[in-house]
């Protein structure tokens, strides 16, 4: 008999406890965003598509050494380099990046000895054709549509 009433009492307390929790949730601000119109801020460590880093003068840091392409487990990078006639430094002639195969693991970014490769804060990339996911990252080799 004692257990019966104790059960009821404890149950009632726990129910009130639960109601209090949801009431607090009701009164606290919402945490979701109206997505297409407003988006939540990206984390600084967000991994969007790859981008080639530039120095202050706008020159690419990349030396087309090809370490990134070799370290990529999905083989989505293809780098071709040539010696630049002006600086005498090796520069990428084309830097092809197949984003449809990229798993954003970051091995290429970590492996780059010149920090010439970084993730960009691009949240979405939508297209109806597969070719749009084959990006050319080197500005010199870019067609106007591949920006």
């Amino acid at each position: 008999m004692k257990a019966y009433f104790l059960d009821l009492f404890r149950g009632a307390i726990s129910l009130l406890d639960g109601m209090l929790v949801t009431l607090q949730a009701l009164l606290s601000p919402t945490v979701t965003e109206q997505y297409p119109r407003r988006a939540a801020a990206l984390s600084p460590r967000f991994r969007g598509s790859l981008a080639l880093a530039q120095d202050e003068k706008g020159n690419l840091l990349c030396t087309a050494c090809g370490l990134c392409a070799r370290s990529c487990p999905s083989r989505c990078l293809t780098v071709q380099g040539e010696k630049s006639p002006e600086t005498g430094r090796k520069m990428p002639r084309s830097f092809r990046y197949d984003i449809s195969r990229c798993s954003f693991c970051g091995t290429c970014v970590m492996g780059c000895p010149f920090s010439a490769l970084a993730f960009s804060p691009v949240r979405t990339r939508v297209s109806t054709t597969r070719e749009d996911f084959l990006l050319e990252l080197c500005p010199a080799a870019q067609k106007p549509s591949e920006m």
Binding site: L8, L15, G18, M19, V21, T22, L23, A25, L26, S28, P29, T30, V31, T32, Q34
Partner: protein, 322 residues
């Protein structure tokens, strides 16, 4: 005689219009509150803060075809949604919204409301049975068992209030609470029992076993679409409203409240505020608690609610007698 008939016609039309308006408002409130209870925003797209969401959904449901499954009993399947609406609509006729805003003041108003409301189960069972589908059937059987179990505490508690008021007329019950509402005047336990049993009576979470999504798809609603589905939803919200109205009348003093100008009409404001506050509690409960298991549901009715309601009735009878 003719004037009386006209008055009835007009007031029943108004009540019906109110039923649909109530379902629209409650549907919107429920979705909005559900969102905010989960720290989401709820409907935001249609109109300012999604305020037109429910009319739009209603039009969509009306325009949709009502699919009748091949194995279903066609006539009964189509009849069930209509039957579900009438027992929840009729009680509104005797509910006193204010001293004069009441369609009919029956001497046996309380019995009328409780008797008519019990019919709702028949619609649910009809829907489940005529669908001829095991989920619907199980949902319907659950609904019947649940309603039988939870009808008893409601009746016992209502009887205790009727004893204190000395009348079955809802208007009289409200008048007898002029000094002190029954919720503080000796019937607090009765009120709590009524609230729990009332939640179960209108198949609301955490007692929504007849339409438990996780086990029964949607229970008796599984095969309903279009207008049939929307009629069931309107019936559900109206049922909630009648349950809350009855709670307001029995325990919260009905239209009693601070004096307002044109008291005979304006005191309906107090009534609606109380009723909608109870509706808010119902929504709040729904988005707080998980669904109970079937044996827990039965145990709670037969081992807790009914004995307590009986003791409540006995003690009330003693106090009234002394």
């Amino acid at each position: 005689m003719e004037i009386e008939a006209l008055r009835l016609l007009v007031s029943v039309t108004l009540v019906t219009a109110f039923v649909f308006a109530n379902a629209t408002v409650m549907g919107y409130l429920e979705r909005k509150l559900a969102g905010h209870f989960q720290r989401r925003l709820g409907p935001m797209e249609v109109g300012w803060h999604g305020i037109l969401q429910m009319p739009v959904d209603g039009i969509k449901l009306l325009a949709k075809r009502m699919v009748v499954p091949v194995q279903a009993e066609g006539l009964l399947f189509r009849l069930a949604p209509v039957i579900s609406l009438s027992p929840v609509l009729l009680p509104l006729i005797v509910i006193p919204f204010s001293p004069v805003l009441q369609v009919v003041d029956m001497q046996v108003g309380l019995i009328f409301v409780l008797a008519i409301e019990a019919f709702g189960t028949i619609a649910v069972f009809l829907a489940g049975w005529s669908t001829n589908n095991k989920y619907a059937m199980i949902g319907a059987m659950r609904s019947v068992a649940q309603n039988i179990a939870y009808e008893i505490p409601i009746l016992l508690v209502a009887l205790a209030v009727a004893l204190m008021a000395g009348s079955f007329s809802l208007q009289e019950i409200v008048r007898s609470q002029a000094k002190l509402w029954y919720v503080v005047n000796f019937q607090l336990f009765g009120f709590l029992i009524y609230l729990v049993a009332g939640l179960s009576e209108c198949n609301r979470a955490p007692f929504d076993l007849p339409e438990a999504e996780s086990e029964l798809t949607a229970g008796y609603l599984t095969e309903y679409s279009g207008i049939g589905f929307s009629l069931f939803m309107i019936a559900e919200y109206t049922h909630m409203f009648t349950i809350c109205c009855l709670a307001t009348v029995l325990f919260l003093g009905g239209w009693q409240g601070p004096e307002l100008p044109w008291q005979a009409y304006s005191s309906a404001i107090w009534f609606f505020m109380k009723a909608y506050a109870l509706m808010f509690v119902m929504i709040w409960v729904r988005w707080t608690f998980p669904r109970v298991r079937y044996d827990q549901l039965m145990k709670f009715a037969w081992k807790y609610l009914i004995p307590f309601a009986l003791v409540n009735l006995l003690v009330t009878a003693l106090v009234v007698y002394l």
